[in-house]
């Protein structure tokens, strides 16, 4: 069992690095006590959930099982957790309400998309990736990031963005979702069990930027100061 897992990791090093690099920001959040900030507490939950889902997916892939179901299920969970982070960051009550509304709406939309993309939902062997949800998730997250950047520029509260932890988190997410936004809908057609289509290097781009995203998270968390946060 473990040998199959290790052998899969050696055959797909980039994917496995993308999975296990999540440990770096996760450990840093705990070491730097960044979880005292509700935003980073949600990031900790997000990273834990992501790591668990990714490990399950790697295990399934190593055992030649269809793991797309986990990919589909992770979409609304990821959006809820990442959106929650922005919920704490925005001051405007309208935006906060908008985020809560979008979470509920997106959950319903993803459920519809899963059923729409998989007419026979019980057939897990031929389960396919959602057609729209991942792209919509990307659009929503990028919109939240851009709104946050706009508020950041408007308020002029942060003198040096390079030492502002959440700026790094936003940058990492922006890069990751930008790299995935066009590839996500294509996966519905290419990532199929019987007729999979190889899209070559393009498929690796989001994985590479998943690693970049985790590194950006780590840099941001490294700049987090529990003492400074307590003073605020």
């Amino acid at each position: 069992m473990f040998e199959i897992f290790i052998s899969y990791c050696f055959r797909n090093p980039v994917s496995c690095i993308a999975v296990f690099i999540t440990l770096l920001p996760l450990i840093l959040i705990i070491l730097k006590k960044a979880y005292i900030d509700p935003t980073f507490r949600l990031l900790l939950v997000y990273l834990t959930v992501k790591l668990m889902i990714d490990i399950i997916m790697v295990r399934s892939a190593a055992n030649h099982e269809n793991n797309i179901l986990f990919f589909n299920l992770a979409i609304p969970v990821n959006y809820a957790l990442l959106g929650g982070m922005f919920y704490y960051k925005f001051n405007s009550p309208t935006l906060k309400k908008g985020i809560i509304g979008s979470m509920v709406g997106f959950l319903a939309f993803t459920a519809w998309d899963i059923f729409n993309s998989n007419p026979v939902i019980s057939d897990l062997h031929n389960h396919r990736a959602v057609l729209f949800s991942k792209t919509v998730e990307g659009v929503l997250i990028i919109t939240l990031i851009l709104l946050f950047f706009y508020e950041l520029i408007k308020s002029l509260r942060i003198p040096n963005l390079l030492t502002f932890p959440f700026f790094w988190v936003c940058s990492g997410l922006l890069l990751y979702y930008s790299s995935f936004i066009f590839i996500a809908p294509v996966l519905h057609y290419t990532a199929t069990w019987n007729h999979s289509v190889d899209i070559g290097l393009t498929e690796t781009i989001p994985t590479i930027f998943e690693i970049v995203c985790a590194l950006c998270f780590s840099v941001g968390i490294y700049h987090f100061s529990a003492g400074h946060y307590a003073k605020q």
Binding site: L146, F149, L152, I153, L156, I158, P159, L161, L162, F167, S171, L174, L175, S178, S179, I181, F182, I183, V186, V197, D198, I199, G200, L201, T202, I205, F209
Partner: protein, 287 residues
Amino acid sequence: MQNSEELKWALLIASLAMLTMAFCMISFVMYYQKRRFEEEKRISDIEKNYNRLLLDTALNSEETERRRIAQDLHDDIGTMLSLTKLSLNQLSKLVGSSGNEKEDQIMRKSQSLVEETILHVRRITRDLVPTTLERFGLMEAIEEFIHKLEEDNNLAITFLANTDDFPRQGQKLELTLYRIMQELVNNAIKHANCSKIDIRLEINDQMIGLKVTDNGVGFDPEKIKENNLAGLGLLGIESRLAIVNGTVQYEKPEKGGASAFAQIPVMPVSDSKPEPLHPFRRERVNI
């Protein structure tokens, strides 16, 4: 097969374009934020300089007005009083020769009142414009000020400087230090109910420090700042210091009383000196 190749290239180009946009967005936010901060800093500096200029002008006007009043007192009232004294002296001789005791007594009383008034006018003139400061420097001016205070009050005032030969500073700096010392000592006498005041003057290559300590009732500087209780005197000290980039710290020594420590960076000495009080010459003085 060809479609698959085209799809790969299309996806690759679209993803790279999106990533480029993301990179540009992050760089733009960083650059724009930095530029706005620089702009804000520039505006704040301009505002600060403008306020400083306003303060400087206000204080200059105050000094000019003091000088004008002193000049008027010296030139007009002083001269008139001297002439009155002269006339009274002549009259006294005439009254003395007549041998009327009562008239002679009234005459002497009038002479004494005129002399006293002349002394008062001189004191007020000196208080308005510290001529000793302009002529001999800070140490002599402080010593003179202490001497006068000790004459009028039952106070023990000590003055110590870390050098015997205190170098002359620019007029503005000397006047600022003198006025601050005056204000702090007057505050101690008026509010602290003290019996002893200690004045220390220190100079090194970069800074001049003035420390005034008393043994009075003392005050809590933090409370005064928090509750906006600082009167015009303390605000005046801060305003004067702001013009010369100086700072002031108030302390509450453990043994009681209060202590104020003002620090001013040493500035290059300018050549222009204010005109001394002189009859028939009234010029605006820029300090």
